[in-house]
């Protein structure tokens, strides 16, 4: 039974880590815009030197 307090404190410590992560996310503004990021991740950021590939697409 003596190990219980240690385990409880350990579990609380883990829980506090998650709480801090949540607080950071709120402060960071992640809850302000829940739509744009879902689009942004689908947009590819092509390298500047892909000239040929782009030309091809527009050539057709």
């Amino acid at each position: 039974m003596g190990v219980l307090p240690i385990l409880i404190i350990a579990s609380l410590f883990v829980a506090i880590c998650f709480l801090l992560a949540f607080l950071w996310a709120v402060k960071n503004g992640q809850y302000e815009d829940s739509y744009t990021p879902s689009i942004r991740m689908l947009l590819d950021d092509k390298k500047m030197n892909n000239q040929v590939e782009i030309e091809d697409k527009h050539g057709n």
Binding site: L23, V26, K27, Y31, T36, L43
Partner: protein, 809 residues
């Protein structure tokens, strides 16, 4: 003569190309603006823009951007616009309403490729804002805004933006409060499990002590931070001698915390820390549910958001763009086509043709001669005019309306709300029961008396009661949003259920703001031939008069255009032109036919026509009433008094009368102030008034009324200060909305009844001293959950039946 190609969409913006001349690499563009954008993007290798979506662009405005945004160079103005400026770094949030697709996001976030001075740009699509950080050494605000405008993403600037910066922090702090309360709730629950299930002597003494203190530690932030608003609101209520719902809540949770702490510290028991944190958590969730606001909509706009931020001042033949606030009487200003006249002024030169529809509701533009006074708020239609300012912006005729007291008083409707009325009686009853219990148990010793009395306060905490309203109204609000009816806050629902008079504005509210029905009534039955129609269209095209423009859009489009050989427009009268060898006159009855006044013209606007001096008849212009107006009105006049206040003349009184009931008041030629006074006089009579309007001229009335509903074709576009915004297409659902509001109130009352039952059950246990932590831990969440489920489900069902399934009108 170029003929139209079959409709080819512009490669950039998707509009029809009227000519095939503007083309590059087999891609067609509708205008040089679009072509320019394409070339800019191509030069910077940003043509991915076109791969993401077809024709993703917005048609750019080709006006002189150089002078238009000159005012952004002004240091003091920049300071007000920027979020921060630190050394050579500056950050600004711009509103760009034209962004509409994923290509826009991509391009706006790739701005750094187009302007090296921009270090970072981030889009918030829902709010249509763009946050830009830039280096002040390599670029400046003006060139960034010009770049955006030339790409078709012209940012919106107005005075309102300056006077109030965003208040995002409230929402953020609510999230944090919920996070902390939820964290404490879950962990305390976990630590309380032995208390719930273990037998008395199974758990060692040291553990109980350890768990108890840990619980206090976890509950402290909930008390001091998460529940802070309830204590503050209760304190405010006590200070103003008003009993609000937060007083019994604050009483309940503070008793819970104090007694639990006492029990833990003195080793009597484990307390109710789980109930305490769970209660705060649930209450905050209710608040979140209720406070869901419509981010892009603004309900508190005044003239400032309607007026431009800058104006072009002419000084010694030099034109410069200056902030509106710096405008002084005596200044000469230039106002271009479709720009707002920002201050009362005198016309110096140019053809004034001012559209006051937004201010007065009067639909026809007014011709002005040089020397005439022009009031602020009108919109110049046609050529550029030069004006001399007479009064500063804030003292002008229109803006003075906002100096009225109505606009100063804060909305303070919370005092009489349903919840607070209930809270008044509730608090009184709970306190008297608690005192009675205390006195009853006193003979058995002070300890047990205090135990029983605090148990009463704990179990009577109106958690379920306080959750009924947020969940009912929050759900109703969501369903209202689905049919494009957006309300400012949940109290609006309560007031909607109370109204007994509805006042309508005419232009733009009962009539379609853009639509006009035009009919040609031929003289002697001679219809117009196709070639004649084309001649009229080609002549009318040259005129900027609103009636001519409406005529052009009404007449069928033909492929051929013909230039008139001669053309003359006589202001206030009409047009004389010769075209294709024929002489054509178009205009008023006196001008065209020489007849003094046609007695039939009283009810409608008419434009007469002669071709080669032969009278051919006239075009009749009638405003179109909104679809379903008849059914809507007939269902409203049964239950409410329905009035009409129109800024327009009484041309259409005869047409309107059948829509209204016998006791309706119909007033015409009403100034914005008249409207406000009419509403005020109704309220003095003891009536609760709902105003339905659309324009600036209704602003005073909307604010004065108990509920002001603004009708809008585009809910994101400008609408005056109001309590609710209704999409014009859903106008016919007004009776359903009112019915839904009433149903919501009934649901709240049933919810109250349910939570009272739980309270009575709990109280019966408490006064007898049977309230163990376990019973409390079960009873409290169950009562809350029952009420939340009931409110949400009942409201959803009612809304489905009344709002969604019901066919309109």
């Amino acid at each position: 003569m170029p003929t139209n190609p079959p409709n080819i969409p512009c490669y950039h913006c998707g509009l029809d190309c009227h000519t095939s001349e503007i083309a590059v690499e087999e891609k067609m563009f509708c205008c040089h603006g679009c072509l320019t954008v394409y070339e800019i993007l191509k030069a910077s290798d940003l043509c991915d823009y076109y791969d993401l979506n077809q024709s993703p662009g917005s048609t750019p405005n080709e006006m002189g951007l150089e002078t238009k945004y000159g005012f952004l160079g002004d240091e003091s103005l920049q300071k007000q616009l920027l979020n921060f400026a630190d050394g050579d770094k500056a950050n600004i949030t711009l509103t760009t309403p034209t962004m509409h697709c994923s290509s826009c996001i991509w391009l706006l976030e790739s701005l750094y490729k187009l302007n090296a001075g921009i270090t970072y740009s981030k889009v918030n699509f829902l709010k249509k804002t763009l946050n830009i950080t830039y280096n002040t050494n390599t670029t400046n605000l003006q060139s960034i805004v010009q770049l955006l405008a030339s790409l078709g993403y012209e940012p919106e600037f107005n005075l309102q933006q300056i006077s109030n910066k965003s208040q995002q922090t409230a929402q953020k702090s609510l999230y944090i409060k919920i996070g902390i309360a939820g964290f404490a709730f879950a962990n305390i629950m976990l630590l309380s499990l032995p208390e719930y299930f273990a037998k008395a002597d199974e758990v060692p003494e040291s553990f109980i002590w350890f768990f108890g203190w840990l619980n206090i530690l976890l509950a402290l932030p909930v008390l001091l931070f998460s529940a802070r608003d309830y204590f503050m609101s209760a304190w405010k209520g006590i200070k103003h001698r008003v009993v609000n719902m937060d007083i019994p809540i604050a009483m309940g949770i503070s008793t819970l915390f104090i007694r639990s702490t006492f029990e833990i510290v003195s080793g009597i028991g484990q307390g109710w820390m789980d109930s305490f944190s769970g209660l705060v958590f649930l209450l905050l969730i209710g608040r979140l549910f209720q406070d869901k606001t419509y981010q892009r909509l603004s309900f508190d706009r005044d003239y400032k958001s309607y007026f431009p931020l800058s104006v072009i001042r002419k000084r010694e033949l030099k034109e410069e763009s200056i902030p509106l606030g710096n405008l002084n009487p005596g200044d000469r200003i230039l106002v271009r086509n479709n720009e707002i006249i920002p201050a009362d002024s005198i016309l110096i030169s140019g053809h004034g043709n001012v559209d006051y529809s937004f201010v007065t509701g009067e639909s026809d533009a007014v011709k002005k001669q040089s020397g005439d006074m022009i009031y602020a708020g009108g919109k110049q239609v046609g050529s550029t005019i030069e004006l001399e300012v007479v009064k500063v912006v804030s003292q002008s005729y229109l803006t003075q309306l906002w100096n009225n007291d109505v606009f100063r008083k804060e909305d303070d409707n919370s005092i009489d709300s349903l919840a607070n009325t209930v809270a008044k009686y509730f608090t009184a009853i709970v306190i008297s029961i608690a005192v009675a219990t205390l006195l009853y148990w006193l003979p058995n010793g002070i300890q047990s008396a205090l135990n029983a009395a605090t148990a009463v306060l704990i179990v009577a905490c109106p958690c379920a009661l306080a959750l009924t309203i947020p969940f009912t109204f929050g759900t109703a609000m969501r369903f209202f949003g689905r049919i494009d009816f957006y309300i400012k806050n949940s109290q609006v629902i309560e007031r909607l259920a109370e109204i007994n008079i509805i006042v309508f504005d005419k232009t733009g509210t009962m009539t379609d703001s853009q639509g006009m029905e035009i009919e040609f009534i031929p003289e002697n039955g001679n219809r117009l031939s196709e070639s004649e129609i084309q001649l009229i269209r080609d002549i009318a095209r040259h005129s900027t008069h609103p009636l001519s423009r409406k005529l052009v859009s009404f007449l069928p489009i033909t492929d051929l255009y013909m230039e008139p050989e001669s053309y003359e427009e006589i202001p206030g009268k009409g047009i004389i032109a010769s075209i294709d060898g024929k002489s054509v006159m178009l205009g008023s009855s006196v001008f065209v036919t020489g007849e003094k006044k046609d007695r039939r013209t009283i009810n409608a606007t008419r434009v007469f026509l002669t071709i080669d001096d032969i009278n051919r008849g006239y075009f009749e212009f009638r405003s179109i009433y909104r679809k379903g107006l008849k059914v809507l009105m007939s269902s409203l006049v049964d239950k409410y008094e329905v009035d009409l206040l129109s800024g327009d003349n009484d041309h259409e009184k005869e047409n309107l009368l059948p829509y209204f009931g016998g006791n309706s008041v119909l007033k015409f030629n009403q100034s914005p102030e008249d409207k406000m006074k009419h509403i005020h006089s109704l309220q003095k009579r003891g009536d609760t008034v709902m105003m339905v309007g659309d324009g600036m001229n209704d602003a005073g009335a909307l604010k004065q009324s108990n509920i002001g509903i603004s009708i809008s074709e585009d809910v994101h576009a400008f609408s005056p200060a109001c309590d609710a915004i209704l999409n014009a297409d859903e106008f016919q659902r007004l009776p359903n909305i009112l019915r839904m509001a009433k149903s919501s109130i009934s649901i709240v009352k049933v919810g109250f009844a349910i939570s009272f039952l739980y309270n009575i059950l709990g109280l019966t246990l408490a006064v007898q001293g049977y309230l163990s932590p376990l019973v409390s831990a079960i009873l409290m969440p169950i009562s809350s959950v029952t009420v939340v489920v009931f409110s949400t489900v009942a409201t959803s069902l009612a809304a489905k039946r009344i709002l969604i399934d019901n066919p309109r009108y």
